[in-house]
Amino acid sequence: MTERPVYIVDGSRTPFIKARSGPGPFTPVDLAVQCGRPLLARQPVKPDAYDQVILGCVNVIADEMNPARVAALRLGMGEQMVAFTVQINCGSGMQSIDTAYRYIREGSADLILAGGAEALSHSPLVLRQGAVEWYAELAKAKSPFSIAGQMSRLRADYFKPVIGLERGLTDPITELNMGQTAEILAHRFNITREDADAYAVASHHRLAHAQEEGWLDGEVESAFDREGNVYEADDGVRPKNDMASLAKLKPAFEKPYGKVTPGNSSQITDGASWVILASEEAVQRHGLTPKAVIRDSEWSALDPSVMGLGPVLCSTRMMARHGLQREDIDLWELNEAFAAQVLACLSAWEDEEFCREILGLEKPFGRIDHERLNVDGGAISLGHPVGTSGNRIVLHLVNAMARLGRNRGIATECIGGGLGGAMLVEMVQ
């Protein structure tokens, strides 16, 4: 079977909106609609001409089961639009692209809208297990006597809610918070607090610069809420951050000695992103202008306690398949879950033993130049809407390569639970 080329035609995302107190202005589907409308409108193809809609979303809210389908209908893509939601935690937005890529490559679809949407500010409060059981017993109680009896068994701490988001960011196998997995990597690869803070400062400065230069125009489309507020740019960016201001922050996960602080971690944020994928046939038929072509993708798995190294495993394996060396990759988007985690990945690639024993390389992979890595900032400055980030890094990789005249790039992310995902993209000349 011949494999058909799969093109990235276009894409756009919402501004990433930092979660503040209470639910933000948009649900996951609202966000998907906000950036999907202008994206669909600026293409010459009609919204109902797509074959499928695939959306990554981790924290699906109760009102939006299968958010992909809800979004497709709300975007006016027609009742006959097949749409489904995918979930692989922090890789969901890339999994949607990967799934679309495979459908198109094998010839069962020609035009797919693939995205990610996440509204972490809408994460529900979860009842404690004890409270759930108590409610169930109360529902069964029929006589006044048994109701009274059950009432007397009510405990005050049943009403202390568990924040769903906190549970979601804790690995269920190891009971380690994601921040703790970054602490482990910092320790193993000798990443200092100063290294992590310096990386975070650069992330903010790079994003602020990109915003100022207008490099995100077209990638970021303004969002408008019902109250008339306009969201034009990622609002988590702090251009004035410096080493001194970050040094003041206390560790967030392992007090008092930890190195991972709110300042050098990704931010809790709401946002959505879409990418349009097309076959050669669809490009011809609809008069589309492809920007890039997807060459390959790869997923890897490892111990959940060191999930942050996921990108190293999957990227290296994918590159080996194509005989690519470090210098063959012009640009990297490596999702910034934590500064320490990104830096640990870079160190692992330089570590002789790690490269030999884990990656199967005869000599170390080598240091990825910071000038080729996350050139316009990342999740530390932008935020990390978990189901969206994987989509955003593919989209931004393409846009950044177009701007810089680069040819080949990799977008890759670590995934809570011990996974990594990577995608190899080349520009259409």
Binding site: R37, P38, A41, P44, R74, L75, E79, F224, D225, G228
Partner: protein, 694 residues
């Protein structure tokens, strides 16, 4: 691609039981296995049922058959998919001139509904869609009412200068809380399904798919006769009714003064006097209705009803516009976008000011919620309305509406850039109230696709839209625009490009004269009161404040500059206010001070001097005649309709031309001549009067 599934299986089939097709003229009648009779009303050669005389006559035959062999129960419903019965046949109201003949017809109708009510088997009306006026009254004569979700009930008679005339006055006040019943009849507002249930109008709400089961259950549960509400008991005492009526009267007087609109006041009188005695109330209802029907007010309002139907018919045809791109998110652009999105169109709205786009989204949400749309409907409206700072929607649009500020150069620049980017088939329309189209047309390469769409503020409330042609606009462009206006449930009035077009040309002299009276030292409250006593929905100075004094000034100046006929000098006070930034409601201060969307008026402004009313009103009539002479609009009926629907010209007087004819054209010319002698050439009677007088 396949057809949508619901294209084939989605059509709701009405449950019509065992009735045979039209075996009783406009009715079908049949009996099911349980001996329940199904009487189905299906007016011949009509899309909707009305309770016309032939429909009533056939109902009588149905009753003959039922009385001969009484069924276990009787079920009445409509065979029309749109609804139950839309009310009386208003056309029949226009042909009568003799009060005795009206009374006779009413008594006949009453006798038939009384017979239906007296049937000794249970009777059930099943209502889907609307049951209005006489339709509602027929349902009220049944023992039980079942609503299919979506049903609505109401008495719109008051809008025609009437009150219910087929027993509604006493049957509704008996059935539900009389205060609620009176409110429905006095306001003409309809009660939708849930509201009808909570008021006690219907007992059961069901879906179409469960109608048969609902009827069977109702017959089983209530084999006996009617069940009547008890709330009426409290108002059996005349003193109790008098007390309640005092409040009602005060409220009604505010909106519809007795002098102009007697019907609601008479209705209150009837209830107060006879509310405890059904026979007497029925008699009073018949007498009063017959009298009201032949009054000028009712006949003029009925004429207005038909003028509206005529405008609707003009705005007919299938619209080919699916995507509208609106340029400019100011007051007008935002409302136009919201209305289009509410009517199911895909809308993109662009403006260089992103905050304005945000405000437009908020406003659209409010307009949709105020129109009682449900949560998911409001969501869909907002999903269809895309704020579009980068004008992506332009390349997709079937119609582009430019609603930028009223500056010639800006508009020309915009129109040229729109034409460059819009698809070849798209119509390009400008929303302007004061610029003439020939000034703008040079900006376009294809003038045949260009025309004006003059919406009135607020677009969501005022239905009228002037479709403005210029010598180069094509017939297809104009027809498409008329159909578009119809598709968004507005009323299209085709007009020729002329200074002020039609409505503003006629209205501006009236507003200007009000400003001159103000300049002469009269209180604004007095000037507004005089106009309202004449019958204008709102006083001219309040209108000017609401529209914005800057806009009024702009229109007035453009009329002065462009008309051949004399226009008054613009009063200095008006200019001063605009220069000082006191523009009216939008700045919180204009002629009045504004608070919470209302002008702060003090007192009534004293005695009205002679000629004040004529000075205000006659310039409108004069300008109307000029517009007819200049063929700005096709005919006087359309002109009257436009002035009533866009400017609130006293509807009970039937519009400016109708009013002029009623008052006597000779008399109007004479008065204008007198005013001309005293106040100057702005009152000079137009040449067109001669033609009109013929």
């Amino acid at each position: 691609m396949n057809k949508p599934v619901l294209d084939i299986i989605g059509k709701t089939k009405l449950e019509l039981g065992p009735a045979e097709k039209q075996n009783f003229g406009n009715w079908w009648l049949g009996r099911d296995d349980d001996n329940v009779a199904w009487a189905i009303v299906d007016k011949k050669n009509a899309r909707a049922n009305t309770l016309s005389q032939d429909v009533l006559a056939d109902l009588e035959k149905v009753l003959d058959a039922l009385e001969t062999s009484l069924p276990k129960a009787l079920m009445i419903r409509s065979a029309k998919s749109g609804g139950f019965i839309a009310g009386a046949d208003i056309g029949e109201f226009r042909q009568v001139t003799d009060p005795a003949q009206v009374e006779e017809r009413l008594r006949k109708g009453h006798a038939i509904l009384d017979r239906l009510e007296a049937l000794s088997c249970p009777t059930i009306a099943v209502v889907h869609g609307y049951a209005l006026g006489g339709g509602f009254e027929l349902a009220l004569a049944c023992d039980h009412r079942v609503a299919v979700t979506g049903a609505s009930f109401g008495f719109p008679e008051v809008r025609l200068g009437l009150h219910p005339g087929l027993g509604g006055t006493f049957r509704l006040t008996e059935l539900i809380d009389p205060i609620e019943a009176m409110t429905m009849m006095l306001t003409g507002k309809t009660a939708h399904t849930q509201k009808a249930k909570s008021l006690g109008i219907v007992e059961v709400i069901t879906e179409e798919r469960h109608v048969r089961a609902a009827i069977a259950a109702l017959v089983k549960k209530r084999p006996g006769g009617r069940s009547r509400g008890l709330k009426a008991m409290a108002f059996n005492l005349e003193t109790a009714r008098q007390l309640a009526a005092r409040q009602m009267s005060a409220k009604v007087e505010e909106k519809a003064p007795r002098e102009h609109y007697p019907a609601p006041h008479e209705l209150i009188d009837i209830w107060v006097e006879h509310g405890h005695n059904r026979k007497k109330m029925q008699e009073a209802e018949i007498n009063s209705f017959a009298r009201l029907l032949l009054s000028d007010t009712a006949q003029n309002l009925i004429r207005v009803f038909f003028l509206r139907e005529k405008l609707k018919a003009n705005s007919g045809g299938k619209s080919s516009v699916a995507h509208v791109h609106v340029v400019g998110a100011g007051t007008m652009g935002a409302e136009i976008a919201a209305v289009c999105a509410m009517k199911g169109l895909t809308v993109s709205l662009s403006d260089p000011d992103h905050q304005a786009l945000g405000r437009a989204v908020k406003k659209a949400g409010k307009i949709a919620s105020d129109a009682h749309l449900s949560g998911i409907q409001v969501r869909d409206v907002l999903d269809r309305l895309m704020p579009d700072p980068k004008q992506y929607g332009l390349a997709r649009a079937d119609l582009v509406i430019e609603a930028a500020p009223e500056k010639v150069e800006l508009k020309k620049e915009l129109l040229a850039s729109i034409e460059a980017r819009a698809p070849g088939h798209a119509i390009i329309a400008t929303n302007t109230s004061s610029l003439e189209l020939p000034e703008l047309v040079s900006a376009l390469r294809a003038p045949e696709r260009f025309a004006g769409l003059h919406f009135f503020n607020p677009v969501s409330k005022l239905e009228l839209v002037e479709v403005v042609s210029h010598p180069g606009s094509s017939a297809k462009t104009l027809a498409d625009l008329n159909a578009f206006v119809g598709a968004i449930d507005h009323l299209a009035v085709p007009v020729k490009s002329y200074p002020g077009f039609l409505v503003n040309r006629i209205l501006t002299p009236y507003l200007l004269e009000a400003a001159i009276l103000l300049e002469e030292g009269h209180e604004p409250e007095l000037i507004d009161r005089v106009a309202q006593e004449f019958g204008m929905a709102m006083g001219p100075l309040e209108v000017a404040d609401r529209v914005g004094l800057d806009i009024c000034l702009h229109v007035a100046k453009s009329l002065r500059d462009n008309l051949d006929t004399p226009v008054a000098d613009i009063p200095a006070k008006l200019k001063e206010k605009v220069d000082a930034g006191h523009l009216g409601e939008k700045t919180g201060r204009g002629i009045y001070k504004w608070k919470d969307g209302k002008p702060e008026k003090s007192g009534v402004g004293g005695e009205a001097p002679e000629y004040m009313e004529d000075r205000l009103i006659l310039p409108m009539l004069n300008a109307a005649v000029e517009c007819l002479r200049e063929k700005v609009v096709s005919d006087s009926d359309t002109l009257d309709a436009a002035m009533i629907f866009a400017s609130g010209f006293a509807p009970f007087l039937g519009g400016p031309i109708h009013y002029a004819k009623t008052r006597g054209t000779d008399y109007v010319i004479e008065t204008l001549t007198t005013l001309e002698d005293v106040y100057g050439p702005r009152f000079k009677p137009d040449e067109g009067w001669k033609e009109l007088g013929k």
